[in-house]
């Protein structure tokens, strides 16, 4: 799996491409751990190029979610392929994760929350 990273308005945006499974899930967790070490806890994962995910990949995402919550941060996902969305629905993880249709919608939500906090 390939992971590319950029920052948009203080949110770390990771584009994942390929399969999210046991091995690549471990890689993803390591990359996100580096973000935590840099005190980055606003993270968005764009899954538009993820063409396969299994329970190990889901487990890796849950692990990341739990760590972000411990650090009072926020994790969002977007652009899930219908097959990937279906797996989230079947496992009821779509209730656990904040999933947006597009990256733009997800990033806008970070700005909205940031504005509300200022108020």
């Amino acid at each position: 799996m390939e992971i590319s990273m950029r920052e948009v308005d203080n949110v770390a945006v990771l584009n994942l491409a390929g399969r999210l499974d046991l091995a690549s899930g471990a890689t993803m967790k390591q990359e996100i751990k580096k973000l935590f070490e840099q005190d980055t806890t606003s993270i968005h994962l764009n899954l538009s190029k993820v063409d396969f995910i299994n329970s190990s990949g889901l487990g890796a995402l849950v692990s990341v979610m739990k760590e972000i919550r411990l650090q009072k941060g926020r994790l969002t996902l977007s652009d899930l392929a219908s097959y990937v969305q279906e797996i989230f629905d079947i496992t009821q993880l779509s209730h656990i994760f904040e999933i947006f249709g597009t990256e733009e919608e997800a990033l806008a939500s970070f700005q909205t929350m940031s504005t509300n906090e200022v108020k």
Partner: protein, 142 residues
């Protein structure tokens, strides 16, 4: 009818190799996308279980994937030579919402039309899955 026997060293990297080969086989037989996704996911789950729970990632052990593909169905057997696999399956509890593990068997049962867990001659676990090929499906091929 086509038969395939695929063998892999127990290692994290082997899953990618297995999925690459499985993708190629399913494409060769023009298996439709929806069915191919179901087969790949279910086989992947059984493979991971064999590697992690059956073999404890012991690289001296081998995981075997056997496929039979004909006009009406795809049959996949995943064999390990671990121990207590059947007992672990019987004792498993559904995964809790924030659990990082424990969803694989449920996904197998969801995506395979039939699944059976049994002990094999090596003392390990065989996961046997059957996927029916719907000739009326109009979904695109991979």
């Amino acid at each position: 009818m086509a038969n395939y026997t695929l063998k892999y060293v127990t290692a994290l990297e082997s899953e990618h190799l297995m999925l690459d080969e499985l993708t190629a086989i399913l494409k060769k037989h023009q298996v439709k996308e929806r069915l191919a996704q179901a087969v790949m996911l279910a086989v992947s789950e059984a493979f991971t279980n064999a590697a992690v729970h059956g073999h404890k990632l012991d690289s001296t052990k081998e995981i075997i994937v056997e496929l039979i593909i004909n006009d009406t169905e795809i049959h996949a057997d995943i064999l390990d030579n671990g121990s207590d696999g059947l007992d672990k399956i019987a004792r498993r509890l559904p995964a809790k919402s924030m659990a990082e593990h424990g969803r694989g068997v449920d996904l197998i049962k969801h995506y395979a039309d039939e699944v059976e867990f049994c002990s094999n001659v090596s003392g390990g676990l065989t996961v046997s899955m059957r996927f029916l090929i719907d000739a009326k499906s109009i979904e695109k091929t991979i």
